[in-house]
Symmetry: C2
Subunit: 161 residues, 2 copies
């Protein structure tokens, strides 16, 4: 990822993300993980596929991210993973307004994610922060929440009732 974006580029991107982007913390089932779940951090920007070239321009400018056609009309640019997202959000933070709360929560998650890999209590705390991000995003399609993770941890005896 580029770390030398100037303030005008960052202000523009912050505006774009505030308008049409998403800052996402998703709890994902991972059967081969000790804690059975992973928190996937994503910055997502979408555009009509006919304007895909603008997303490619953002991708080049950021020097990171993956372009994906969601269907024949919508294309998305996804920047996935806390190691990439955290430093970018740190740079964007001074310019974000509408999604500043999500950014702050996600930065907190990113900061602690590495140290919670085998710690169910701490991991659950980060899942609760992910719930808060989802609430701010008006997210309605979530199937896995911190409650799901808590139930699994209880069933596995990783935490007490």
């Amino acid at each position: 990822m580029k770390t030398n974006l100037n303030d005008l580029q960052l202000a523009y991107l912050a505006g774009f993300i505030d308008g049409d982007g998403s800052l996402i913390a998703q709890i994902v089932k991972k059967d081969d993980y000790i804690l059975k779940y992973q928190i996937r951090i994503t910055i997502s920007m979408i555009q009509s596929t006919s304007r895909k070239h603008f997303l490619i321009q953002f991708q080049k400018e950021l020097d990171t991210g993956t372009i994906r056609d969601r269907n024949d009309k919508i294309t998305e640019l996804n920047i996935i993973g806390h190691l990439t997202v955290q430093p970018l959000l740190q740079q964007l933070r001074p310019f974000l307004r509408i999604k500043l709360k999500q950014a702050n929560l996600i930065i907190r998650i990113c900061e602690q994610l590495s140290s919670t890999k085998n710690d169910p209590i701490k991991f659950l705390e980060l899942c609760e922060l992910s719930d808060q991000v989802a609430n701010l995003n008006d997210s309605k399609k979530r199937t896995v929440t911190s409650a799901t993770v808590k139930k699994t941890f209880q069933d596995l005896g990783l935490i007490k009732e």
Copy 2:
């Protein structure tokens, strides 16, 4: 309208408009006008009503625009009229990317609008530019296009076939 927005504010707003705003040139029926139609120029930004306070913040920052609840979920900030929109778009232009074409077309319309009030041929040219803006906006709900205006002008004998 404020004319002393700094480059960081303009870059942010350009990003926001590129993401979620609309630059609109709408042909509106006006029975009491000599040419029977008006071109209404609008910059529109929408947000969930629960985040209306961000639109109010934009309104204060720009020192212009009208806040309107579209329904109980969606609120919009509209900046209407070529005299207000043109100077703002001139300032935003260096920072716009995705909606730059719309901005350039609308600036052309604004520049000529005053001089076409009673000139059907010239007015029709601006209606055609409005069609181009609508096409760039993937607008599907338009009922009045330059073709409608042309037909009216022909029926009224304002232009030849």
